[in-house]
Amino acid sequence: MIRSKNIQQKIAFHIFRLLSFGILGILVWILGFIIYNGIQVISWEFITSYPKEGMTEGGIFPAIIGTIYLVIGSMIFAVPLGIMSAIYISEYASNQKWVRFIRIMTNNLASIPSIVFGLFGMALFVHTFGFGDSILAGSLTLGILIIPIVIRTTEEALKAVPESYRLGSFALGATKLQTIKNVVFPIAFPNIMTGLILSVGRVSGETAPILFTVAAYFLPKLPQSIFDQAMALPYHLYVIATSGTDIEASKPIAYGTAFVLISIVLTINLLAGWIRRYFEKQNSI
């Protein structure tokens, strides 16, 4: 006997399978579109030369360098603060109310749209502090953006370290700091690394926060100090895709830029996954 409820289940499950593979399809479509078009543009020269002819020709070297500067700058700012904050929350804090409060604040900060960070960075760093449109202002803005990610991943990594390790270390007469430094941190390190790498991915792709804090449409030379403006890959893609001097003519450059951007982000994601798996395997032995 064939029952309607079994048929219903069959149909529903088929639809869900279709949807899931549809999502896979969307990913393949997006990546395929960018890789297919980008690979035809990409060359050593494209990566290492300056834009030419109103950005319809030439390469994207300054944008790549700018993004690297921004990644480094924001990490210098966010990583120590984020990690220390997480260490305090998970290793020291005894006041649960304070911990809850911090956690709520961290979650809220994470939910603020990136354009709001852009506004804030502009008001505080660019104008109030007088940094002007600069790598410094942009890095600080991006740094603030990723602090919640750093805190959260570090906290999770620390929490995953079994309590018995800590107790064992205390039992040997180690102080709290020694325990954290010699026992807890080394075990949590791979997971913390994964979190940091993921935030590098986030920083290299963000556009809205740098629009008004650092990004330059075109610069004839590389930034010389942290008070200079910089070009950046995501902003570069935005500009040449929407408001270049000749949008059609600069399309290949846009594909190339998108390709480089996507490659960075994908590499970072894969790297993070690889590190996590590698250490998981090592720890399980």
Binding site: F16, F21, L24, I26, F33, I102, N108, V116, F120, T128
Partner: protein, 402 residues
């Protein structure tokens, strides 16, 4: 030997504790700076800075609001009666017209006669409305009176139906079209993403084999990692033309296009949170359902989904929050027409897209700049509220499980 060690420990603990307050400090600073810049708008005059609107003092009109000013200068209102004055056609007079009436000689070498001439013109025409720089109107004759001297009001901002930040004499900062545009695009995006995401979450948590799961999960993670500007670019080059062709419309940059892109971007959030919620349904509930002869699908939609509903709602709200705040992708594919949308196949402009598109051109400290910061405040409040609501909901879920 031990003594300095102790000091170091204490010191570091203090440093750690201080850094743990960083997020709270940042949020506080964001509130202070956004609101400080934004609320300056309500201390700015309705009429463009440095300019004034003048009428003949016999004209009974006491005041007019920004929308009326705009309509008068657009010629949509051409009689004083429309806004409660005498039955008299409106005589619009812009400052530069003075130079076609008087010669340079008559105005004087340093324009020293200009203020007097301006006053004369107003005195001679009872139906005039004149838009002059304030610096020439320092002494106002008894025949002249200035109107629209008030500051921009909160209601102009919150209830205003037009966003025309650069029109003269008085720009309009009505956020209604922007709010509607933002909500339309975001809700439509979630409407598209929710059934999709839920289906995928069910597939991954209930049906898929480990191997398939091992392929699709990383794919979704990758999808979450793609920068929004790349989504925008993809949307612009691929989705926009498709929407244009399929919808048979003149421009493919529509609210719908933005929603499609946003839906893809919201999927990873919705999928992973819903999947967690589904997974957290107790095995005992499922088994009881199977034991009563229910199929797996019946168990899913009658037991698991209702049980996971608060987790799923949290996912929806979080997804809406993300969608509302998303900037670049939306900016690139929605066409950015700042008018109240009537259909999903029209161009719309969202709040974040407005900020991104206009802040670069707004003079620092001017009303436009302040209005954009105020938009930032609105956005901040929107997402803050949504994040709090979603937290409350997921807390309810945890207490139910406990």
């Amino acid at each position: 030997m031990r003594f300095p060690m102790k000091i170091v420990e204490r010191l570091l603990e203090g440093v750690f504790k201080m850094s743990s307050s960083i997020t709270s400090i940042v949020i506080l600073l964001i509130i202070i700076f956004l609101f400080k810049e934004g609320f300056g708008l309500f201390r700015s005059p309705v009429v463009e800075n440095g300019y004034g609107l003048y009428i003949n003092s016999k004209n009974p009109i006491a005041d007019i609001n920004p929308t009326q000013i705009k309509q008068i200068f657009d010629g949509e209102i051409d009689n004083w009666k429309t806004i409660g004055g005498n039955e008299e056609s409106i005589y619009l007079f812009r400052f530069d017209e003075i130079f076609s009436i008087y010669t340079d000689e008559e105005l004087g070498e340093n324009y020293q006669f200009l203020p007097q001439k301006l006053n004369n013109i107003i005195a001679e025409n009872s139906n005039i409305i004149a838009f002059f720089p304030k610096k020439y109107m320092q002494e106002i004759s008894s025949n002249t009176k200035e109107i629209a001297t008030k500051n921009i009001e909160i209601t102009d901002f919150v209830l205003g139906k037009e966003w025309l930040p650069t029109t003269t004499p008085s720009p309009l900062f009505g956020i209604v079209p922007l709010v509607l545009g933002t909500l339309l695009v975001s809700f439509l995006a979630i409407l598209i993403a929710l059934p999709l995401g839920l289906g995928v979450a069910i597939y991954l948590s209930e049906i898929a084999s480990n191997r398939v799961r091992g392929i699709i999960r990383p794919a979704i993670e990758l999808l979450a990692g793609i920068p929004s500007v790349v989504y925008g670019f993809f949307g612009l080059v691929i989705i926009v033309p498709i929407v244009q062709k399929v919808g048979n419309i003149s421009a493919g940059e529509t609210a719908f296009t933005g929603s499609l892109i946003l839906a893809i971007m919201a999927l990873p959030t919705i999928i992973s949170i819903s999947e967690d919620a589904i997974r957290n349904t107790p095995l005992a509930l499922r088994e009881s359902s199977y034991a009563l002869g229910a199929t797996q699908w019946q168990t899913i939609y009658k037991i698991v989904i209702p049980y996971a509903s608060s987790g799923i709602s949290a996912a929806i709200i979080l997804g809406i929050g993300r969608a509302i705040g998303e900037t670049m992708a939306v900016l690139m594919v929605t066409g950015n027409g700042a008018v109240i949308p009537h259909s999903i196949f029209e161009s719309v402009r969202t709040i974040p897209a407005t900020i991104a598109a206009e802040l670069g051109e707004a003079p620092i400290g001017g009303t436009h700049y302040q209005a954009l910061f105020l938009l930032g405040c609105v956005l901040f409040l929107f997402t803050l509220i949504l994040s709090i609501v979603s937290e409350l909901i997921s807390k309810k879920q945890t207490s139910k499980t406990a």
